[in-house]
Symmetry: none
Subunit: 224 residues, 2 copies
């Protein structure tokens, strides 16, 4: 996952290390305003809020996150003597971990909360312009018109569309979408791109753009 986790306040070295080792991207936020301003366009992946000195600020951020999008997973780090703070505020967080924490416990909680799609009430959907991909149902549609895609076409389109504008070489695509080492079938990508374009329709074929001598990218067409 590329989306960052919001961390309040600036994490201790132990916390930063645990996040880094877990492969998570994170961004420190200093206050509620910051948690809004620093939020990336795709939204936070989750939030880790330390309940310690600045208790009021911490809860303010939680409320702010809940108000904006109830589905952002929130994990609290809380000192034992502050456990009572959680009482009557159950709706402001999803999980908590006693601080100081055991790295493996926090790791397990992060994995459980963040990698499990069950907690996401909203259907997992990728949207780019008029293109909509529903991860749960494996359905795709563009401008309301449903697309009948095969498995590989769907996977390729999803991969491209989830990083709009970014160029991928054929080799990278084979690795990430097909999942095996490059064996010499680079043209396979071309053919799938072609079928995708034809299924996207005349007016949307340029959603997948060729970058000559490099590869392909997904981009909303701004000129015709």
């Amino acid at each position: 996952m590329v989306r960052p986790i919001a961390v309040f306040p600036s994490p201790t070295p132990e916390l930063a290390q645990t996040l880094d080792l877990g492969g998570y991207k994170w961004t420190a936020v200093e206050n509620e305003l910051d948690s809004v301003r620093s939020e990336p366009e795709e939204g936070w992946f989750g939030a880790i809020i330390v309940i310690d000195d600045e208790i009021k600020d911490a809860w303010a951020i939680c409320r702010s996150l809940r108000r904006r999008d109830a589905n952002i997973p929130v994990i609290l780090l809380v000192r034992g003597h502050l456990l009572d703070e959680l009482n009557m505020r159950d709706e402001l967080y999803d999980d908590f971990c006693l601080d100081p924490f055991h790295p493996r416990e926090l790791e397990a909680r992060l994995r459980h909360l963040l990698t499990l799609p069950t907690h996401e009430v909203r259907p997992e959907i990728v949207e780019q312009g008029t293109l909509t991909l529903n991860i749960e149902t494996y359905e795709a549609s563009i401008a309301g018109r449903p697309l009948d895609l095969t498995y590989m076409e769907y996977e390729l389109l999803r991969f491209l569309a989830s990083s709009p504008g970014k160029v991928f070489t054929r080799e990278v695509l084979l690795n990430r979408v097909w999942g095996y080492e490059y064996y010499g079938g680079a043209r396979t990508v071309d053919v799938h791109v072609r079928r995708l374009r034809s299924k996207l329709g005349e007016e949307n074929a340029n959603l997948i753009q060729t970058v000559r001598s490099v590869g392909y990218k997904f981009g909303t067409a701004r000129w015709n």
Copy 2:
């Protein structure tokens, strides 16, 4: 709350005391079969499963609870050196607590998980289009015509129909409907799907749709 919490295995004095002081009713269960047999008519309020000696039994109970997809909240009590057990089994529990536990931490987790209104009571009747499933009587009918389904056919149909449109892999279906680890009998799912389709009748056979290379789903597009 009157519904009891299932506790596996028989709780230690500390655990029993924590539950009693929290005002929870609880029932000790000894094994998977017990967790089904002892379940009150209104269903369990939640479950506390200790991951310790009888690991396999513990997970079997979790799978069994998850099988009747009423969202029974499951909290694990796990020794630190067994944390790895949780890996890849995220769908089998909702929260965990390191054991030995601090009473106030467990108390907070119980309150957080059990008092939140996220866990609704299991539905008595599932209706999707012309399909009707009566949970109590195990009766199914489509367009008024009653269906004569076997137990597994009924469970499979109910699971699929309760998340219309969502695609499930054979592996997930074996886990959630059959309730065991995936050992290679994926074709079992195919055969049951085929029988379901034939019993649904010619005109409704497409209610269960094949998503090639992925799995099966119930119904068609949700978003149209």
